[in-house]
């Protein structure tokens, strides 16, 4: 079982987030936006980590929760007349809703959490490949529905004029809060039970752990946090479209988590900030600033290569110490014999 190394596991990432916030707040306007964006990314990646890191199950669908959170927060922050002019067919309860900043974030988290719960009830029985495909299906369905159902949102059009309330204070507090919640969860009994189940599912089940339930808890929490991240996102950008919360974001957040290291909070934060930094730098370079002039698309190529390279050669991520999971040989053999697809291929 992974050892959770005490409060330093939380203090480190939080300090890093605070430092980044501090550095960004004194930077120029456009750069400050990049910093805030990095902090919002960190929030989303931490949310993803809460589920993927603790359960060991890959989810391609988490951006669905970011999406519903973003749209929910956005829709309730915009005056009715404006909403109806963009989407005349909106359901009245959505059209009429107009709340303040904090409430919109709370709604975003709630919507994300509820959606994750509903999705999780059936899906948490799956793992491995089936879970990957099923969560990808959720992403596709969410995108498809959001884009084509004019009664719940702007559909293919942009939802704009959302108040840009995600200043440094908001995103930093948001990121730190999410980190604290993630840490509290992984130290809690449900979190530890889930991690035990990740290491050795059969043994955990044998000890009475209801894996389905524990995964559902993590998934729901993760969905709520992702929804919250979506809320932060929409208030950062001032607008949102379905394409902004679809495949690109899925890829980027997965990349961040994987490059940083799937199994720890540190990894999630480091990965998010590092890749955000790289992303921003490369985006600037594409525009020909900073002495480098890269062609458009080089940014994605670079990130893709980096992600692929990490996955192929250092699957534990940058933060991990070892390249292989830290399991003793005897335990490894026992795990191998328990798992149906015993990996005998490695020669």
């Amino acid at each position: 079982m992974s050892r959770v190394r005490g409060i330093s596991e939380l203090a480190g990432p939080v300090l890093l987030l605070a430092l980044v916030a501090l550095a960004g707040s004194v930077a120029s306007r456009s750069v400050a936006l990049e910093f805030r964006s990095a902090l919002v990314s960190a929030t989303i990646v931490i949310a993803l980590y809460v589920f993927v890191g603790n359960s060991g199950v890959v989810s391609f669908g988490h951006v669905s929760f970011v999406a519903v959170g973003a749209f929910a927060a956005g829709l309730v922050s915009v005056p009715e007349a404006l909403k109806l002019s963009v989407s005349p067919e909106l359901y009245p309860f959505i059209a009429r809703a107009e709340v303040g900043n904090a409430a919109s974030l709370a709604i975003a988290a709630a919507v994300g959490g509820v959606y994750a719960f509903l999705v999780g009830v059936p899906l948490m029985r799956l793992s491995g490949l089936a879970a990957g495909i099923a969560t990808f299906a959720v992403l596709e369905i969410t995108h498809n529905v959001l884009r084509n159902w004019p009664r719940i949102g702007p559909g293919a059009k942009t939802l704009s004029l959302v108040p840009e309330t995600s200043g440094f204070l908001q995103v930093t507090i948001g990121a730190v809060a999410v980190a604290v919640i993630a840490f509290a969860y992984q130290r809690s009994r449900p979190g530890r039970l889930l991690r035990a189940a990740r290491e050795d599912p059969a043994a955990a089940q044998g000890s009475g752990v209801n894996i389905h339930r524990q995964r559902l808890v993590a998934f729901t929490l993760s969905g709520a946090l992702a929804g919250f991240g979506g809320g932060l996102l929409v208030h950062l950008l001032g607008s949102i479209t379905t394409e902004q919360v679809y495949l690109d974001l899925t890829f980027i957040t997965l990349a961040m988590l994987i490059i940083g290291g799937v199994s720890s909070l540190w990894g999630a934060v480091v990965g998010a900030l590092l890749v955000s930094g790289l992303n921003s730098f490369l985006a600037e370079a594409e525009k020909g600033i900073g002495g480098l002039d890269l062609p458009t698309g080089a940014r994605l190529v670079t990130l893709g290569t980096l992600m692929a390279a990490v996955l192929l050669f250092r699957p534990g991520g940058i933060v991990s110490r070892a390249q292989a999971p830290r399991v003793s040989p005897a335990l490894a053999r026992r795990l191998a014999s328990l798992r149906p697809f015993a990996r005998e291929r490695a020669s």
């Binding site: 003793s328 040989p329 005897a330 490894a332 053999r333 020669s347």
Partner: protein, 241 residues
């Protein structure tokens, strides 16, 4: 038997580790052409591990495995198979969805001699009538004993220099085991060099020219066919310090 002729298969100072545990420690033995050598011992003695090391399924930490004087340690299993060693694995591992004939055809993959296939096939059918009878049917329909026969037949069709057998009696009824060993005797009489890992020490000792007793990864004792009845000796070797 063939002390002066160079050994066909030689294991020298073999050490195999799983993590920090040494499953086989400083093991040395040799098998001459046409000989039958058995490895016996309690569970966990390292018998199967030795065969795995010979076949390249696991890399030795120390020591060497030599075939015809040439080192084969560290070769991939398919390369070892193609060098002329065939393993009849523990648990048979026939392909149940393939027909018996297809299973036999797989045995031909590692074969180096491209001629004589028809003759070898005839010989194998004569040795194992059940295999011939069921040749068009899925191998999964065969009984345990018949599958064992199929696995041995498959090994023989590779025309190997050395035939390794890992626990051929496992899971088989006593009468079936007797039949298998009778056939093995015929196989050996046909000139095939055999290395046998067996739980049934007495059976193995009676069959082989030399029986090496392993315990805790080390070679404890070497027996001749006459020692098969000596249970005291065996017990000492298995459980003594």
């Amino acid at each position: 038997m063939s002390e002066r002729a160079a050994p066909l298969l030689e294991v020298a100072g073999l050490e195999v580790r799983y993590g920090r545990v040494a499953a086989v420690r400083d093991l040395s033995f040799a098998v001459g052409r046409g000989e039958a050598v058995a490895l016996v011992g309690p569970n966990g003695a390292g018998k199967s591990t030795t065969l795995h090391a010979v076949m390249g399924l696991v890399r030795p930490a120390r020591g060497d495995v030599r075939l015809g004087g040439r080192s084969i340690a560290g070769l991939a299993p398919e390369a070892v198979a193609r060098s002329g060693i065939a393993l009849v694995p523990e648990g048979r591992h026939v392909f149940p969805h393939f027909t018996v004939e297809e299973n036999l055809r797989l045995g031909l993959v590692a074969r180096r001699a491209h001629d004589g296939v028809a003759d070898d096939l005839r010989r194998v059918y004569r040795l194992f009538p059940a295999v011939e009878e069921f040749r068009g049917r899925p191998a999964g329909l065969l009984s345990g004993g018949q599958q064992q026969q199929l696995a041995i037949a498959r090994g023989l069709l590779a025309a190997p220099d050395v035939l390794l057998l890992d626990e051929p009696s496992l899971g088989l009824a006593p009468t079936v085991v007797d039949a298998v060993f009778e056939t093995l005797a015929e196989v050996r009489a046909g000139g095939v060099t055999v290395v046998l890992v067996e739980q049934r020490a007495q059976l193995a000792a009676a069959f082989a020219d030399r029986t090496h007793v392993l315990a805790n990864g080390e070679l404890r004792l070497t027996l001749g066919p006459g020692d098969a009845e000596d249970t005291d000796l065996l017990t000492q070797a298995y459980f003594g310090s």
